[in-house]
């Protein structure tokens, strides 16, 4: 800025600061205050009827021994651990296939993106219908293959188990939580579109160099495309972590607000919702919500840590 010969640098008057005022006000009222307040409430016993009473760490202590909370925590982690990797793998595969210069990619792109557009309520209801164990489509499609063997089709949302084979009752197991994962993976076309856009940005000279080095298509994917894709994958994984930990509508709708069967689809947001608005234990709910937030922050940090080692940043 200032060179020795120039006149002393004077800070210009602030510019456009007023433009940010509405946003800052909103940030304060709709995010920062509630965020801080929920932290404060988490140390109180607070129902709507009475003012909050400080109880110290009692809420957190109670949470650590609350089997339903622990179940919700376990479900949420399991749901994330299943749906994010599966979604990313399928999305990368689709993006790679769509990247090939063949005809009709616009059509394919539109087709795999469309499920993402369907409103959550509509898709949850649609999958309830598809996964109906009596005459749902999936059951009916599986039956002709399973009936001759004497096996039963899965009961999907009515089974609290995960995935497997039940030899005693001769039934294929595909339970409620995996069904939720299925619904979530159905919307992964959006991620595929993102990855595809990044693949299309990969500089041509990288391909050329790889080809000159005699790289096959797998080598190109592994050593050229995947490193280029990695920062985008990291970013999307982080966004997916944040999103997955907030999943509420799907299990709420598909289980009639119960999170059943036997708490198999009871996720943390539902736990928070129930305690805040049904049982009127606002303080307890806030404590749970802070654990949810801590979890998101922790996992995001871990993702970035792994990212630092694994992700290739061009020019960095």
């Amino acid at each position: 800025m200032s060179t020795p010969s120039a006149p002393p640098y004077r800070r210009p008057p602030p510019r456009a600061w007023a433009f940010v005022v509405p946003w800052l006000l909103g940030l304060l009222v709709f995010t920062l205050y509630p965020f801080a307040a929920s932290f404060a409430y988490s140390f109180t016993e607070y129902s709507v009827l009475r003012p909050p009473e400080p109880v110290g760490l009692a809420n957190y202590a109670e949470l650590s021994g609350d089997p339903i909370f622990l179940r919700a925590l376990y479900n949420t982690l399991l749901f994330a651990a299943l749906s994010i990797p599966v979604g990313v793998l399928i999305a990368v595969g689709l993006a790679k296939a769509l990247h090939a210069p063949i005809r009709g990619t616009t059509f394919y792109r539109a087709a795999i993106y469309v499920p993402h557009l369907v409103p959550t309520v509509a898709s949850a209801i649609l999958w309830m219908w598809m996964l109906n164990p009596d005459n749902g489509l999936l059951t009916s499609v599986m039956r002709p293959f399973l009936d001759p063997l004497g096996w039963k089709a899965p009961s999907f949302m009515q089974d609290d188990r995960l995935v497997g084979l039940d030899f005693k009752n001769r039934q294929v197991i595909f339970g409620a939580l995996p069904s939720l994962v299925l619904l979530s993976v159905w919307g992964c076309g959006q991620m595929a579109i993102v990855y595809l856009a990044k693949l299309q940005d990969v500089p041509q000279d990288l391909y050329e160099a790889a080809r000159l080095d005699g790289a096959g298509s797998w080598d190109v994917f592994r050593h050229v495309e995947l490193p280029q894709l990695s920062p985008v994958i990291l970013f999307n994984v982080v966004m997916a972590i944040i999103g997955t930990f907030q999943v509420f509508a799907e299990p709420y709708i598909m289980t009639g607000g119960q999170g059943g069967p036997n708490y198999a689809t009871y996720l943390l947001p539902m736990f928070i919702y129930d305690h805040a608005f049904d049982y009127h234990r606002m303080g307890y709910a806030c404590a749970a919500s802070w654990i949810l937030f801590g979890l998101i922050a922790l996992l995001t940090l871990i993702a970035f840590r792994i990212g630092q080692r694994r992700v290739y940043y061009a020019g960095a």
Binding site: L27, A100, Y113, V114, P119, M128, I253, M282
Partner: protein, 442 residues
Amino acid sequence: MTVAQEAESTDLRPRRPWMRAGLHLFLLAATAIFVFPLVWMVLTALKPNEQTMKNPPEWLPRTETATLTREFRLRLDETREPIADPRPERIAVVRLATLDAPHVLVKGGRETAGDRRDAERFVDRRMLIAAADLRASGGAWGEAPAAGAAEMRFKVGAEPEKRLFACEVLETYPAGWVQVRESIPDNRLLTKTAGSGEDVLYAWGVVPPEDLRKEVRFFWENVPASMRKMDFGRYLLNTLWVAILGMIGTTFVSALAAYAFAFGSFRAKAILFGLTLATMMVPFPATMVPLYGVYRELDWIGTFKPLWVHSWFGAAFNIFLLRQFFLGLPKDLLDAARIDGCSELQIFFYVVLPLSKPALAMVALFHFLYAWKDFMGPLLYLTDKGQFTLSLGLQAFQSQQGSTPWHLVMAAAAVFSLPLVLLFLLAIKTFIRGVAMTGIKG
């Protein structure tokens, strides 16, 4: 190999035809998997209720029609055992409607009258009303014979030869029962004119199997029926109100803040921007409880305000996206405007906004999608059924009945999803660019 081909081969165009075919096959399979549930939703929406329960499922909506030319044979008990009839005929449930005024037979309405779930029993028990009785009682349900296994014969109308009509079979029961939906001879469905749930009529009748005709028919009338039933129009207006108000607010205010973060110079700009980004990580459940408290203090619970007012203070993600876009604008233009004596507000309105239409459209579009789909917000803040948005209304429609009328629910879900799909097809470029931008630059 020509130079052009050589150049193309650097982007790894599949050289062998089988590879290309394999890719197409893979992508077609993926397309089928991703799109099929939606196709199934639409197909279900256009079926008669009875057909949705078929197992194994039938793909296409269809109807079976038969012409009833004979005297009816009716049962008055609730069991569905076939009538002990010497002739090996098929038994049918026939839905009758007024053919012409004097000879209304029975009222009922099962599949369209979800809030009268016992309509079926009701109908079965009191199926029969002599035409004259009905006439006398002014077209109401009239006096019905007592329940029982009595078998009764009656003539359809005073002049049987004029009472011929066609029927559609709704379902064939294992024991040989056939359910028939009635239509008038020229194949127009009477249920249309009769209106759903009110004037639809049932009776049991006999249809010889050879008289049955199967044909594909899409029950488009399910769409208006479901929309009426779930109060779709009102929910639509509510949703549009919330979505459009919020959309205008968030686009404008986010753009203002983005401008400040992109071109402004003031103390703590970097810190405030960092804070803005950090808040994207705060999950909604973590702020939900005190936020609810704020809205309760403001007495906004049970109003639309919690769903749109916060948008008029911008949104972190939108600010971030718009800032990235603004930074890509040619700076010379802004400097030139500044030298010409434009104020920052003028630069914002006359230089930056006109140049940023694609980004603004994207932000507006994504907010609209968000508001259209949002379920948790309306669930928390709306208390009165008349204020529901479509998301909440559809969920209520699905869960209010013990046994869901799946065809109507699917019809509502399809109509609810359709505007977004249409928007997408119309603005496919904005969408794809927007999705790529939100996912990459972010």
